[in-house]
């Protein structure tokens, strides 16, 4: 592998890793704060992608479609938390699995019903459709850089909110001692609704920004969900910092494995997970 190819693969790996972080951070946030294991988290990725497809065709503007799709994803998140997840707080993880797997079936059926099962695509917006010349023969698409920038911006914003705002302190306190947060006069139900809605919107946003570089197919949500679980387990359940490090690790390893070890690329991230769990059974950053 020459240097320019290496560079392109590294950029691809980082970009994929950042995207995984966007999805995994929502999953791990909801798990860490609320103790809810949301298996329908991947479905929100799919919903985001299909929504942006739909609204791009309707409005003829990708960026407007992004805003609308995010808003709808957030509303879906609020509805799911208020009407369904709210019944699960006192129950164990198995009940959570039953309900959220049920949601996967509902979302997949809805997707098939509304958009059909043929692969769909979203055009890269014209303003981001060019490429950057890395070397004489290698170029890198601007849109992929755009995805990375969006993910980094979200990561920085999350870091700031969680570490430096009162809302962030309440969220962390909720992770540590839920009853005490309530005993300080914080409406924990509202806090949970916010966390859940933001968590699923992050997943939807990942689907939204990747829509122009993937094909929209049924089952796309489940595929990312599994990679996402690998990230969350490697990073440490509930740790956002862990999710960030693990997502980059998984993104880079997965990308290079598919170039260097095409025969066994599909299992490399699981090998990586197994190796890390041998030395760090709780993941890299135990929450």
């Amino acid at each position: 592998m020459d240097l320019s190819l290496f560079l392109v693969q590294l950029l691809n790996g980082v970009q994929y890793g950042l995207l995984l972080f966007l999805i995994a951070s929502g999953l791990t946030l909801v798990f860490g704060v609320m103790g809810i294991l949301n298996l329908a988290h991947g479905s929100m990725y799919m919903i985001g992608a299909y929504l942006v497809y739909y609204f791009t065709t309707v409005t003829d503007s990708f960026f407007l479609a992004v805003v609308i799709a995010c808003a709808i994803a957030m509303i879906i998140g609020i509805i799911i938390e208020r009407f369904l997840i709210t019944h699960l707080y006192q129950r164990d993880h198995l009940d959570q699995v039953l309900l959220t797997v049920g949601l996967i079936f509902i979302f997949n059926a809805a997707q098939g019903f509304i958009w059909g099962n043929d692969p769909l695509g979203v055009d890269v917006p014209a303003i981001l459709s060019s490429s950057i010349q890395l070397t004489d023969i290698v170029e890198y698409p601007v849109y992929r850089l755009f995805i990375s920038v969006v993910c980094i911006a979200i990561a920085v914003a999350m870091y700031y909110v969680i570490n430096h705002t009162k809302l962030g302190m309440m969220i962390r306190a909720g992770e540590s001692n839920r009853d005490m947060v309530e005993a300080l006069g914080v409406d924990i139900r509202k806090l949970f609704t916010i966390v859940f809605a933001v968590g699923v919107t992050l997943s939807a946003l990942a689907g939204i920004v990747s829509a122009p570089i993937v094909s929209l197919v049924p089952g796309m949500g489940e595929r990312v969900l599994i990679s996402c679980f690998v990230v969350v387990v490697i990073g440490g359940m509930g740790s956002i910092k862990g999710a960030f490090v693990a997502a980059l690790l998984v993104g880079i390893v997965d990308t290079f494995a598919s170039v260097l070890l095409p025969g066994m690329s599909s299992m490399t991230i699981y090998l990586l997970m197994a190796m890390i769990l041998i030395f760090k059974p709780q993941g890299l950053y135990k929450s």
Binding site: E175, M180, A183, L184, G185, I188
Partner: protein, 237 residues
């Protein structure tokens, strides 16, 4: 305006099958400091938790400032200017001392601020040195100071302290009692669960003894003196 900040009537609270509170009643006048005494397992903490809605009584009523708050969730009761320092202090392992205080700070429901961040640190100079430590890295005494400081920053009208000085070194206890005296002077109504009858006698206007989920003594410090032996026999292990 009701003369009473808190009126508890006929509370029956159960944990599963076990009946903890048996028709427990007591009142707290505005501005008073009231002690609740009793051996472990007699229902003191359950009484406080029932008042706050952390556990739901099967029957009975809780009136706060004359209004029945029995159906409000805990957080709403606290928003009406009640603060709680739980047994075990309720520290957050992932928040620093400074963050514990910042996340709790708010004006009371009348938009008044009697306790500011700086005032709380003035009262607890020990916390000043530990601002960047995590809540659970503190000693027991420091944790209790932080829990009280955090409660004060919500600017309460009623402060509820469960096991105010339990398990603390004598010197630290003294500091905590001194602060509770200051809180009393500021006019905040306070309920203190503790076993130190000597300090409570001097500090509180009213004393309540709970045995097996019932109030078996309720009186002022003079009445406490008259029945001192009886009460002490009910506190001895």
């Amino acid at each position: 305006m009701s003369d009473y900040i808190l009126q508890v009537k006929g509370l029956h609270t159960l944990y599963g099958e076990s009946h903890i509170l048996h028709g427990l009643s007591f009142d707290v006048k505005r501005g008073q400091t009231v002690s609740i005494m009793g051996r472990n397992g007699m229902g003191k903490s359950t009484t406080l938790k029932s008042v706050l809605g952390i556990v739901k009584p099967r029957s009975g009523s809780v009136l706060y400032k004359g209004e029945d708050i029995g159906s409000s969730p805990t957080w709403k009761r606290m928003r009406n200017d009640i603060a709680y320092v739980p047994e075990g202090r309720g520290m957050f392992h992932n928040l620093t001392v400074k963050e514990h205080l910042q996340m709790a700070a708010r004006k009371n429901s009348r938009s008044e601020e009697h306790w500011s961040y700086d005032q709380v640190l003035d009262v607890f100079p020990r916390l000043q040195q530990r601002l960047t430590n995590k809540g659970t890295q503190l000693s027991g005494g420091e944790q209790q100071m932080l829990a009280i400081g955090r409660a004060l920053l919500t600017n309460p009208d009623l402060l509820i302290l469960d096991e105010a000085t339990e398990g603390l070194a004598p010197l630290i206890r003294k500091e905590i009692w001194d602060v509770i005296r200051k809180i009393k002077q500021s006019g905040v109504s306070t309920i203190i669960v503790d076993k130190n009858i000597k300090v409570l006698h001097e500090l509180c206007e009213q004393h309540i003894l709970i045995v097996k989920g019932k109030v078996i003594f309720n009186g002022d410090s003079t009445e406490l003196d008259a029945k001192r032996e009886f009460i002490e026999s009910n506190l001895a292990v």
